[in-house]
């Protein structure tokens, strides 16, 4: 009985050692991989300025939203325009 429980504790210790090591090794490799990937991308595949803009537009351009935005922008533009005009008038 005592043996069994000591064994359980030893298994726990083992699990801790292997577990901590595995996590640290895995994340260390990930750090290396990120560094490598960043360098490769930034050096050999830099994102062209225009393509990034396109990408951004693409990302944010669900049709419904964009039409809504367009409308809102129109309204705001009108309002701001008014505001300036008023400034000039006043």
């Amino acid at each position: 009985m005592v043996v069994r429980e000591d064994e359980l504790f030893m298994q726990g210790v083992e699990l801790m050692l292997f577990g901590v090591s595995a996590v640290v090794i895995f994340l260390s490799l990930l750090v290396l991989a990120i560094g490598l990937a960043s360098q490769v991308i930034l050096r050999f595949f830099p994102q062209p300025a225009e393509s990034q803009a396109v990408a951004q537009r693409r990302t944010s351009a669900a049709p419904a939203e964009s039409s809504l935005d367009a409308e809102r922008i129109a309204v705001i533009t009108a309002a701001v325009h008014q505001h300036r005009q008023r400034g000039r008038n006043g």
Binding site: L8, L15, L30, L42, F45, Q47
Partner: protein, 434 residues
């Protein structure tokens, strides 16, 4: 008159047991904390409510058809079940329930069939649990949604913070040791699998904890989930004293250098790289990290906005409702009110404390070597509990130096902690599972 008796017998009052009263009070208490104190309400409202439902006497919402048949105390049904389970006809319901729990799959199916034929059916919460958790699907779907909501920019801008996410996982493994220690001392009765599942509480990650518990220690899932979400909500109370004790005022004042902008391509490549690393090294973490990376890729690739939105909204919300109720089904009195639950609650807070301390200490250590300054306050964010832990780091940073905004810097270790605990979960599953 027989109808009157039947009506009385069908009320809850006729069957209430003290344990059920206690559990309903605990459920209401969780609801109070969730609603009034805003303790992780998205999970604790369904869990608390599910806990109340599970303990309604006579409703049997958390039990399978066979368990409901055994609870019915109908002599003919009990005799038939005893026969199927190979027990003496004189066995009482208690003994038969135990025998049912340990029966082989075909016997359990036969018992379920017999219960169905006698008019009993699976309780609602039991059905939810089977579909959502026992299948493993709900935690994975939530993890996909979390992936679709996570921005790895801060982590990619400063990959060293991954070490802080690793350090904080030390709390997980120390707690495993604590749990087997309590067993060794004879105070509790946790197996190695139980200990591993309890340790994951220290990962401060709800879906990961539920996923691991459903695989390694389904009986302890209730207390583990409650502990995980409660302590995640208590992060603003648990962490600050530890962080203050382990850092000097000068350290807390350290201002970190502005993070660089990360390109979309780096963000797209990251989940794929993480996935390949998982494939190479830790297949046991593939379901969790695979779904997480999938969600993140959908978000970052920018060409499947419809799917990314579904993962972040409809799908994760619907799944959360059923996940919460399903966890609640594990708060039935006879499974929850146990000395082990106390042990789990105690070990859980220890896990959080150790994780916090490890994160801060490793940050101090790294500060000695790296070229860029590292404020040790962001180390505590490595336990995950996104985004609460990062906000705590930010708050303490501002306390020390009113212009020291650490939030973005703490987001790195914060999301690293999510990866870290999923990796730890994979290690546990592959070493202890099956």
């Amino acid at each position: 008159m027989s109808n009157l008796l039947r009506l009385w017998d069908s009320t809850g009052l006729a069957h209430f047991q003290p344990g059920q009263v206690v559990m309903i009070l605990i459920g209401l208490c969780l609801l109070f904390l969730a609603i009034r104190k805003q303790f992780e309400p998205l999970l604790l409202v369904p869990i608390g409510f599910g806990g109340v439902l599970a303990n309604i006497p006579g409703a049997g919402l958390a039990y399978s058809a066979a368990e409901n048949a055994l609870h019915s105390a109908d002599p003919a049904v009990l005799a038939e079940m005893a026969r199927l389970l190979g027990q003496s006809v004189a066995s009482d319901a208690e003994a038969l329930l135990q025998a049912l729990g340990m029966a082989a799959a075909p016997v359990q199916q036969a018992a379920a069939s017999a219960a169905g034929a006698a008019g009993f059916s699976d309780g609602m919460l039991y059905t939810f649990y089977t579909v959502a958790i026992a299948s493993g699907v709900a935690p994975l779907v939530i993890f996909m949604g979390v992936g679709a909501m996570t921005d790895f920019g801060p982590l990619l801008a400063n990959p060293r913070t991954l070490f802080l996410g690793a350090a904080a996982q030390f709390g997980i493994f120390a707690t495993v040791l604590g749990a087997v220690g309590l067993s060794t001392l004879g105070l509790m009765d946790f197996s190695l699998a139980d200990a591993a599942a309890i340790g994951i509480i220290g990962g401060a990650d709800g879906p990961t904890a539920i996923y691991v518990a459903s695989l390694l220690a389904p009986d302890l899932l209730g207390p583990i989930a409650v502990a995980a979400y409660s302590y995640m909500a208590l992060v603003p109370l648990i962490q600050p004293p530890i962080m203050r004790a382990l850092t000097t005022q000068a350290e807390r004042e350290i201002v970190m250098t502005q993070l660089r902008e990360v390109s979309q391509r780096e963000k797209i490549v990251f989940p794929l790289m993480l996935l390949i690393l998982v494939a190479l090294l830790l297949p046991a973490a593939a379901p969790l990290l695979g779904m997480f990376c999938f969600g993140n890729l959908m978000k970052e690739c920018g060409v499947v906005k419809r799917l990314s939105d579904a993962a972040q909204n409809a799908l994760i919300n619907i799944t959360t409702i059923f996940l919460g109720l399903s966890v609640g089904s594990k708060l039935v009195a006879d499974k929850f009110l146990d000395i082990e639950t106390l042990g789990i609650m105690l070990l859980g807070v220890v896990a959080f404390a150790i994780g916090t301390a490890s994160g801060v200490l490793i940050a101090k250590l790294m500060n000695r070597f790296g070229s860029h300054p590292l404020n040790p306050l962001i180390g505590s964010a490595g336990v995950s509990a996104v985004p609460m832990a990062a906000r705590v780091s930010n708050r303490l940073g501002l306390e020390a130096n009113p212009s020291n905004y650490l939030l973005m810097h703490a987001m790195g270790p914060n999301v690293a902690g999510v990866i870290g605990s999923a990796v730890a979960a994979g290690v546990m599953i592959s070493l202890v599972g099956v």
